[in-house]
Symmetry: C2
Subunit: 300 residues, 2 copies
């Protein structure tokens, strides 16, 4: 319990630093040339909440290989820009049509649809600018991050997974393997990137890079399972968004297929797998171990 409290405090402290750095990156991106409304919409979509789990994983994974927060921060910010743009676009009326996120109106509700589309495009574009200008990293590390993020955020990853998810809505009998594969792309790819990015930017050996990638994939699965479990069980107030909406939309989830007890057992297995992958790093990886437990056990 004490460890978990310490963990959540560290997560919250990092989230505050990420928030400030993201605000600076967004404000600085336009050189004063873009309309204030666009910048405000980007801030609305990217700031004001979020656990900043993906930046935390970047920074803790980098720390495992000796790279400090200052070195890892820009990769963390770039990833968070991608994550936030995807939320802005996913919330649009033509996509999930969500009115609320993190207890506030979504960007197209607070502004308008056109501004939300452009704010998402702006955040997506900014991510790659941030990576290219990561001063503390070697050119080869920066290029590897750009290349890997383009793959994980694009048609082979998040965007492709989102398209699969849309095409599966209302399909009566989606095979479980297809649900898992879609979720691995839609949600898992960015979490896997988070863990791998730390190893990339710290220029860790290829074997470590693969191992962190796998760790990220495992906790990405746990993240999605925990998310689906919350959607089944939580109150809207605790989530800051509508609960039960996946079920109402006919979205297929593993908790809906197998039940809550199965899901909790599976989450425990995934935590074991994640910890096993970190075994070679001993006590240095304790924070990442706690992150795995946090992801599996989160209540919001």
């Amino acid at each position: 319990m004490a460890a978990q409290t310490d963990f959540t405090q560290r997560l919250a402290a990092l989230a505050a630093r990420v928030e400030a750095a993201l605000a600076d990156a967004i404000d600085g991106s336009a050189g004063g040339r873009a309309p204030a409304r666009l910048i405000a919409a980007m801030r609305h979509g990217a700031l004001g909440g979020g656990k900043r789990l993906r930046p935390f994983l970047v920074i803790e994974s980098a720390a495992l290989f000796g790279a400090g927060e200052a070195t890892a921060m820009r990769a963390a910010l770039a990833l968070e820009c991608i994550h936030c743009y995807s939320l802005v676009h996913d919330d649009l009326p033509a996509m999930d049509d969500d009115m609320e996120r993190r207890g506030r109106p979504t960007v197209h509700v607070a502004y308008d649809e056109a501004t939300a589309i452009l704010a998402g495009d702006g955040l997506l574009t900014l991510a790659f600018g941030i990576l290219a200008e990561s001063d503390g990293l070697s050119a080869s590390a920066r290029l590897a991050l750009v290349s890997r993020l383009a793959s994980d955020a694009g048609t082979a990853g998040m965007v492709g997974g989102q398209a699969l998810d849309l095409s599966a809505e209302g399909v009566a009998e989606l095979p479980e393997a297809e649900i898992v594969s879609m979720q691995a792309m839609k949600t898992g790819a960015l979490i896997a990137f988070a863990a791998e990015a730390g190893a990339i930017l710290a220029e860790a050996p290829a074997e470590d890079r693969r191992r962190l990638r796998e760790f990220g994939e495992v906790i990405g699965l746990a993240f999605q399972l925990a998310d689906d479990l919350l959607d089944e069980t939580a109150e809207a107030a605790a989530l800051g968004k509508a609960a039960g909406k996946d079920r109402r939309r006919g979205k297929k989830t593993l908790p809906a297929l197998h039940g809550i007890d199965w899901t909790r057992r599976r989450l425990a297995e995934l935590v074991d797998e994640a910890e096993a992958l970190l075994a070679p790093y001993g006590a240095k990886a304790d924070t990442l171990r706690e992150a795995a437990r946090f992801v599996a056990n989160r209540r919001s």
Copy 2:
């Protein structure tokens, strides 16, 4: 006349090669994992037409500094991905609400809005992956291209210009300086990137890079003026899209402010400026000179 015919043949021949390479890049991006419908929508948005002027400028600008088409092609493709994504998103109902482009239904009409949003996101993301994996270029050239493209395509460039354009719709008395500045961001930044990118990837000296950038800015102005002139004068059939729509929407253009004769004189001045910028390169820059005249005099 003969020169211009030769020029249009070269442009068309390059367009065919760009078309094939873009198709390969889009098909390869998903590693077979994304739904066929998403890939088909990206192909619809990026293939089947377009003069490929921006790729042509990248490749001819690179040639000026001794870099061949094979070396320059990936930067050209990346830029075209950005251009095409911007058309897909701009055509959306919440933005310009266009039903037709290049004589065919727009992506959200041929598919659906959600798929069009994702197809645009996919093309935008792919652009940076293509740049990062430009095998023939040095790491520093690739990073400079990523950084510059993120700036020119983002809130300080194209996305910011589009937001300014939307916010100006229906404003009765938009100052001329604001029209010019908005257009320089919305349309000019990518054309300026095209010319500068050739100098970047060929690792030309900073002075040449600045000169090509300025050349790109000048022909970007000419491109927009010629576009606005066409909107005032052309038939829809020649454009493959609705004509006169800017005026109907209350969009402010310089031809609408100053008339057609003024616009033709201004276009001739811009061609002179563009040619003056190319003076140091002598006959080697003849194709870029023809490109400047082509941009200013185009009829579709």
